[in-house]
């Protein structure tokens, strides 16, 4: 996993639930390439076709609340989104994302000030975010050891299989 991420930002509101990220009726699909077609369908149809690899999602409070469906972070990752920055995340969504190697960052300040389309750069290791468009820098608390290991191994399963898993 790259520790430096660069891309354009896509902005969403508070309490974006998993039914909005990927509606339940598509949950009989499992292939990331299929799921991604319906990503955020209730809010923005064909969202994935507009995303470029590396882009970032920005959201308000409680992003990913609702069901445990891993289809939600899977579809986000499959769209090319490299990371989600929000004011807060729902619990199961949080672990699911790290478990598949999709980093999530909690940084309320940037969420308040960013506009959709701003170009940003994130240094995952140093805990720094730079809004290139607005020329403003932010920091976030460093990831806990387990979360960093999950990111570095691109998810739980590769980490477990590496034989190096530790808490």
């Amino acid at each position: 996993m790259e520790m430096i991420i660069k891309g354009k930002s896509w902005k969403f509101g508070d309490n974006i639930d998993t039914d909005v990220i990927i509606p339940a009726r598509y949950l009989n699909l499992t292939e990331p390439s299929e799921l991604v077609k319906y990503l955020f369908e209730p809010l923005r149809e064909n969202f994935a076709s507009m995303v470029k690899t590396g882009d970032l999602l920005i959201a308000g409070e409680n992003f990913g609340c609702g069901s445990s469906r891993e289809h939600a972070p899977i579809a986000i990752k499959a769209s090319g989104i490299s990371c989600v920055i929000a004011k807060s995340f729902a619990r199961i969504f949080y672990r699911n994302s790290f478990n598949i190697g999709l980093p999530l960052i909690i940084c309320p300040d940037i969420v308040e000030e960013i506009e959709e389309g701003d170009e940003i750069e994130v240094d995952l290791k140093r805990g720094e975010i730079f809004n290139q468009t607005k020329e403003k820098e932010y920091s976030f608390p460093p990831f806990e050891k387990l979360m960093m290991n999950l990111i570095e191994h691109n998810g739980l399963i590769p980490y477990l299989l590496s034989g190096k898993f530790s808490i």
């Binding site: 499992t30 069901s67 445990s68 399963i157």
Partner: protein, 420 residues
């Protein structure tokens, strides 16, 4: 300083390290569950690993319940995948349609999840089992694959919010109203990553179904788990069902709670959650006139036998309003059979309700009662997000079974006393 019941149970499941809130631990798992939506991803992950060694084959239940009886070809293919995996690996608890039901009603009923357990499930409402006095939480499909490979799960030990209820509930109010009221009070943020412990004399008086209803919706507050200390009511429910030995744990008197909230519920009236959040709750008397098109009585929240009985008592001898569809789904075969034997299904059929087979069905807008644009439903289930039961322009209101039944008769959201 003492421990909360959640810390104590987690402590029994770690081999080393301190179990203190905020810390990551690696805990051994007693039981796991996955369904026809989440298990296919788990299976794909495991089958991609050469010579994967899978553990705990007698500690996992695969329950096809969301889109079953298979609603389309893709759903049928997913269940085929579960069935084949169960057969190939010798999984003991695969529930075929006819024996399957909504997982969170089925597992307690079969005595597979027990007091003192650590249970994880690839479904967010796995928190339901906390009503038995176990730590039970929803995870993802990858978590489940990891637990099948290692027998363990990583968990951050949660802080606990203690919720204490006093007062006797009035007629027509139940565990559902307690939890809806609590969701309104807690909001969406306070409980994230935390444990909710439901305590007090009102909780001690609740039967198991109402306790399940409350723990079921802990996740709607964003909590990791909901939990109720076990007592004689728990013992009575579990003693003839349990497939393994079990243990009762309790919070110490000097346990540390991050917060305690006290509620006197003796004057509580039925509560209704308005679109589009389960915490957007009002007293039924403050609602005004809300016309409905559909009523759903079922789900892992309020499809329990006692819930069907309450709804049947309200609706007995009456008919569903002309412009309304009433869909009743007993969530498990055992509940179905008991409701059939005791004449409850007949009451619904005579009222011109449609009775579905055990499944999640309309609860997630899956099948058997999906809403069209502009339609409005009242449901005994747990979520009312945008598009939860169908079209993005449909609306879902959440309430207890008595309110749902009364609303079906009146044709708008109604207090049960209006029809009784």
């Amino acid at each position: 300083m003492g421990c909360t019941i959640t810390e104590k149970i987690l402590g029994k499941h770690v081999s080393k390290g301190e179990v203190k809130s905020g810390k990551h631990i690696l805990a051994s798992v007693d039981f796991m569950v996955a369904n026809d939506i989440t298990a296919p991803i788990t299976i794909d992950i495991l089958e991609d690993i050469p010579n994967a060694k899978i553990k705990g084959l007698d500690r996992i239940a695969l329950v096809p319940d969301h889109f079953t009886p298979n609603k389309d070809i893709k759903s049928a293919e997913n269940v085929k995948k579960l069935r084949k995996f169960a057969r190939d690996y010798g999984i003991k608890y695969f529930f075929e349609t006819g024996r399957a039901g909504v997982e969170h009603c089925l597992l307690p009923e079969k005595g597979l999840v027990l007091p003192g357990d650590l249970v994880i499930g690839a479904d967010s409402h796995t928190c339901t089992y906390g009503a038995l006095g176990c730590v039970s939480t929803g995870v993802g499909s990858t978590d489940l694959a990891g637990a099948l490979l290692s027998g363990k799960i990583w968990i951050k030990v949660p802080e606990t919010i203690k919720l204490e209820y006093t007062g006797k509930l009035k007629k027509w109010t139940y565990g559902k109203d307690l939890i809806l009221m609590t969701l309104k009070d807690l909001g969406d943020k306070v409980s994230i990553y935390r444990s909710l412990e439901f305590t007090g004399e009102t909780i001690s008086d609740l039967n198991m179904s109402q306790r399940f209803t409350m723990c079921n919706m802990a996740v709607e507050a964003g909590a990791k788990n909901g939990i109720i200390s076990p007592d004689e009511i728990t013992e009575e429910y579990i003693k003839d069902r349990a497939k393994r030995p079990y243990n009762f744990y309790y919070s110490d008197s000097d346990a540390e709670f991050v917060e305690t909230r006290r509620y006197d519920v003796s004057e509580l009236e039925p509560q209704v959650a308005l679109p589009f959040s389960p915490s957007n709750v009002k007293n039924i008397s403050d609602l005004g006139e809300i016309k409905i098109d559909q009523v759903f009585i079922g789900s892992c929240t309020n499809g329990w036998y006692e819930d069907l009985k309450i709804a049947a008592e309200v609706i007995k001898g009456k008919k569903v309003a002309d412009h309304v569809r009433l869909i009743v789904i007993p969530p498990t075969p055992e509940i179905y059979l008991k409701a059939l034997r005791n004449g409850i299904l007949e009451v619904f059929a005579k009222a011109e309700a449609v009775i579905g087979p055990p499944t999640c069905g309309p609860c997630l807008g899956g099948h058997l009662g999906v809403l069209g644009a502009g339609e409005r439903a009242i449901s005994t289930s747990n979520r009312n997000f945008v598009g939860r039961m169908g079209h993005y322009k449909s609306e879902v209101y959440l309430a207890n079974p008595a309110v749902a039944a009364a609303s079906a008769v009146v044709g708008r959201i109604a207090h049960p006393k209006e029809v009784n």
